[in-house]
Symmetry: C2
Subunit: 618 residues, 2 copies
């Protein structure tokens, strides 16, 4: 089942064996957390009780952990602490409320419970576990890691804001706007308040921002054609008349009165669910109102399903998760997103990809050192004895050979030393890229609603068969992007077989994250664009595309084999047209691309034939 991670999982199986054999006598199938002093609806801290309940479930081999319906509060000071490396999020010592490590066959059923987290803590971290199901609960944070403000007025180089009480802030002595955990109610009292302030100042990092983005208050989505404005954590500001009214200054700032300015959380420290080195994990009817990072991040895991679930903000907030709703890295088996709602998160609804590392040094004919390139990938250990690695010429992204790993040694969270079983291909040189050859995940994305978030809908970069059907997309950038590169993000892609059918794409790409509603891209150096083909075999059929101007419905680059048939493209007036776009189909450096005549085009002035003819420029 987990062929290429045998070391990691052999240990795991051993741990299960021990736990089960020594505890058989105490076995109890269902544990209610209230047996461990966990109380709902009274504000008490449920963290330690839940920890003890999980420990008991593991010891007893329980198959179900249940909560009675109600509100449960979780604080950090008695949470389990663990060093966690989380790809595409921030690594570090995490305070974890549900630490699930080495657990097999457990369902956590909230029965409608609401989990409210306080401060910088991590709700769920799953590691080296199997057969876990999470259902029937919601998660939220009392104070979100991002902040929001309503635009009261706009002038040259400034906007006036009203900041709701749920987003405490201060203006520092140096005149900068900073957000914080709590209001500075009693700045002159000492002892307890002084201690609290000191802690709050330590915790300030949890409420730092790095940029702002304007959201349309009526449409509840990123405002038309608006971009992130980079701010750093501290806009020059001054207090205005009126409670919690503030003027902030920035040469590029600009907004529409009444809209909401969202202050993007600077870090990705507190994803909702982290799933590492695990198998058969399902989220079913789980609502993620907020996370300080991604909603669900799964890495090196096998068979992960998110179904009947929601990423959606709680009342009074514009934004849900502060990064992607879901994200999958080097996963295997099946990745399934079925019947979910993903809305208002600050990044893509999903991104499914592998990781490239760069060859840093060649030590001898069997030994190299490789380097993780993106700081948010640091600590991502994926090279084990027995693995097969592909050797990739980075500028062309072409795989020229593979090699089998005899042993690996982590030098640091950035560098790994790899010894191969046999001398490697002599073409291998420093600067090349390496990725794991694995049971690439088969992807099923079906029946989801994706809308109102920042950036793209979905980044689909698994080499396993990928099916996207019966979804609704309304993303401000590309609805679907196939990509991959080995020079900046170092995300391994290279679709081998994708089917996109029976979806509704409604007025996507109304801001400029991406190059078209469906875009296929790859970070291939100019020199190799004529020859290199990175993505393959894509079928797009029976979809409805509603578009409001002539921006690309399809924008291709470096594709071999794509058929676009039986789709309907319908013109709307949802947003103003942009003069710069004049071609629904853009095809560059690709082969066997067929835009068929049976596609329907409705509501445009030009002819169907004109509209269906691709150009090779944006």
């Amino acid at each position: 089942m987990l062929k290429n991670k045998r070391n990691r999982f052999a240990q795991l199986a051993f741990a299960f064996g021990c736990a089960i054999s020594s505890q058989v006598l105490m076995a109890k199938a269902v544990i209610n957390v209230n047996e461990f002093g966990v109380q709902s609806n009274n504000g008490s801290d449920s963290t330690y009780g839940v920890f003890e309940a999980i420990k008991a479930a593991k010891a007893q081999g329980a198959t179900k952990l249940i909560f009675d319906k109600g509100r449960y509060d979780f604080y950090g000071d008695r949470a389990t602490e663990k060093l966690v490396y989380i790809s595409n999020n921030d690594p570090g010592i995490k305070r974890i409320v549900f630490p699930l490590e080495g657990i097999k066959d457990l369902e956590i059923d909230g029965q409608g419970a609401e989990f409210i987290f306080h401060g910088g803590i991590n709700p769920f971290v799953i590691d080296q576990s199997q057969q876990l199901t999470f259902r029937n609960f919601s998660i939220d944070f009392e104070r979100s890691f991002h902040s929001e403000a309503t635009v009261l007025a706009v002038g040259k180089g400034y906007v006036d804001l009203h900041i709701p009480a749920q987003f405490p802030y201060k203006i520092t002595d140096a005149g900068l706007l900073k957000f914080q955990a709590k209001a500075d109610d009693q700045p002159n009292k000492i002892t307890i308040e002084k201690l609290e302030r000191r802690k709050a100042s330590v915790n300030e990092v949890n409420y730092q921002y790095k940029r702002v983005l304007e959201f349309d208050v009526n449409k509840r989505e990123p405002a038309y054609q608006k971009k992130d404005i980079s701010t750093g954590n501290g806009l020059p500001a001054k207090k205005l008349a009126g409670e919690r009214n503030v003027r902030v200054f920035h040469p590029k700032i600009n907004a529409t009165v009444g809209n909401v300015l969202v202050f993007q959380f600077k870090h990705r420290s507190f994803p909702g669910f982290v799933i590492s080195d695990s198998a058969d994990v399902t989220l079913d009817n789980v609502t993620i109102h907020h996370a300080g990072g991604m909603g669900v991040l799964a890495q090196r895991s096998h068979n992960v399903t998110v179904q009947n679930s929601k990423v959606t903000p709680s009342a009074g907030r514009m934004v849900s998760a502060t990064a992607d709703a879901t994200h999958f890295v080097n996963c295997t088996g099946k990745v399934q997103l079925i019947n979910n709602l993903f809305e208002n998160q600050k990044d893509d609804a999903t991104n499914i990809h592998g990781i490239y590392v760069a060859v840093d040094k060649i030590l001898d004919d069997k030994t190299i050192e490789v380097r993780l390139q993106h700081p948010q990938q640091y600590g991502f250990d994926f090279i084990d004895a027995g693995d097969t690695l592909e050797l990739v010429h980075a500028p062309s992204m072409s795989t020229y050979n593979t090699a089998k790993v005899a042993s690996s040694q982590r030098i640091s969270n950035e560098i790994t030393r790899v010894v191969f079983e046999a001398p490697f291909d002599t073409r291998l040189q420093a600067g090349d890229s390496i990725a794991e050859v694995r049971d690439y995940a088969q992807v099923l994305i079906k029946g989801n609603i994706i809308r109102r978030n920042r950036a793209r809908g979905m980044l689909l970069n698994s080499r396993g068969k990928t099916i996207v059907e019966d979804n609704y997309f309304h993303a401000p950038g590309s609805a679907i992007l196939f990509e991959g590169d080995a020079n900046f993000w170092y995300e391994q892609g290279g679709i081998s077989h994708a089917i996109i059918r029976n979806n509704v794409f409604e007025n996507n790409f109304y801001t400029e994250w991406g190059r078209g509603v469906i875009a296929v891209a790859a970070g291939i150096d100019e020199k190799y664009q004529e020859s290199s083909r990175y993505n393959h075999n894509i079928l797009i059929e029976n979809n409805l595309f509603k578009v409001f101007d002539h921006a690309p419905v399809l924008n291709l680059f470096s594709v071999s084999g794509l058929t676009f048939k039986n789709n309907t493209i319908e013109k709307t007036n949802a947003y103003p047209e942009r003069a710069k776009f004049n071609s629904l189909f853009v095809v560059n450096h690709s082969n066997n691309v067929s835009i068929e005549a049976n596609n329907k085009v409705i509501g445009f002035n030009q002819s169907q034939k004109q509209l269906l003819t691709p150009t090779n420029k944006l």
Copy 2:
């Protein structure tokens, strides 16, 4: 020898035993790091070679590791990584160049080597080791964690600065001054440069500031009567004509043209030497030019000596370490500082103290949970089975009983659960404080020069016999402070026997860190000040005090037993007199204090008798 940390050290002894017995055949007494590919004077990274040399020294039981004289460079990407909790500094995953764990009897002799560290890395971390000596080398960082600038002009609410090239900076889009690792030379190139920029932006945290302090450029010390100005990391700024000239804005900012403004490093992530749970550690002829935190931090260690060493900035910088030169927490045996120079660090020359934790919850008559109160103490595990703890009434700081620990369990880095052997004193309640009763360190501070730093000279708070002799002090705050509190810093003090003799105190306390040249304080609640006596038995004799005004030479609070005799107090004109001070001796809430008639007072207008008569107000 290490009576009360037996668990920790039993493990250690076992580890030594194994290492020695299995490796006898390979034994080699002296290892030169050049045997492991370490090269000097060519800029190459010596980190991994030094790691391998240390590993070999440990395996072979070598007693000496030597460097040839020369410059050695160390980078972080191949450094050993380890989670380290460092009291009074910042915990976290550290990249460690000299990771010394479980080592016995080793001398590291630099033979005049210069170690230059690059980026956010930790030079020396010593853990669970014994008999280590470090000698004959200097440490410095290529780019300091703090930054400095020369004042060009001053106006209302702004100063104009020239920032030397060794302190790279940028002004952000939002108009804020930020410091960084490297200059943004090629902002428009991609790939490598873009990757570098991304890494640099991740590393920005290593160059953040939180306040500024003005240094007198001629005296090379904090400017007369100047205080820290709190800034946050980002003063509003604009570029001026002239290379690297910048105007920064702050309502309280003010300085003298020509002086140096020092931007205080926001964090304490990179102390020079961390010594944890170790014994018999000596630094001899070691120069610390810079550290991003304290120079030397020893915790839970036995017998630590720093001698013939220096903390002093390298050429072109005003500041050396960004926090205390040395600092000792819960140490035992002997703490010795002999014949050192401690200058220009951004905090005290030393602070020797214990740690109080607060009682957070009482679970039953033998079981409590205690809470570390200061975020920089989090993770400081000091309660082990077999320890005796004192039970302290926090507002009066009086110890009313002790109790012996049967077992302890760390719940988080903040909370520890403690089970006592027997039911504890029923007076114990939440909010009380707890500290370890131990072989309190005997302290010898002899022949040192302490000058030009920020804040105080020395904070002496060990209950072992403390001797301070033959030193020269010129600190902007108190030269010597005895204190301790259980309501903010939670530092355990309570001197039992101190002798301060034959020192020269030259024009200390010229800014207002502290309340006198020698001050004895304690954080005792007003209600208990009449009765509680926290510090005891202090003799101050044969010292020369040069003072420039009538600020207190001695300011006492809550002392039982102090004799001030045979000292000379001589008036100077080193700084302007401050009208607010009018009493050389201030004594409050103390018993058995004797300011003897044999003290000499020179150069004042008032009579000796007048000057030697204490008042009870500042």
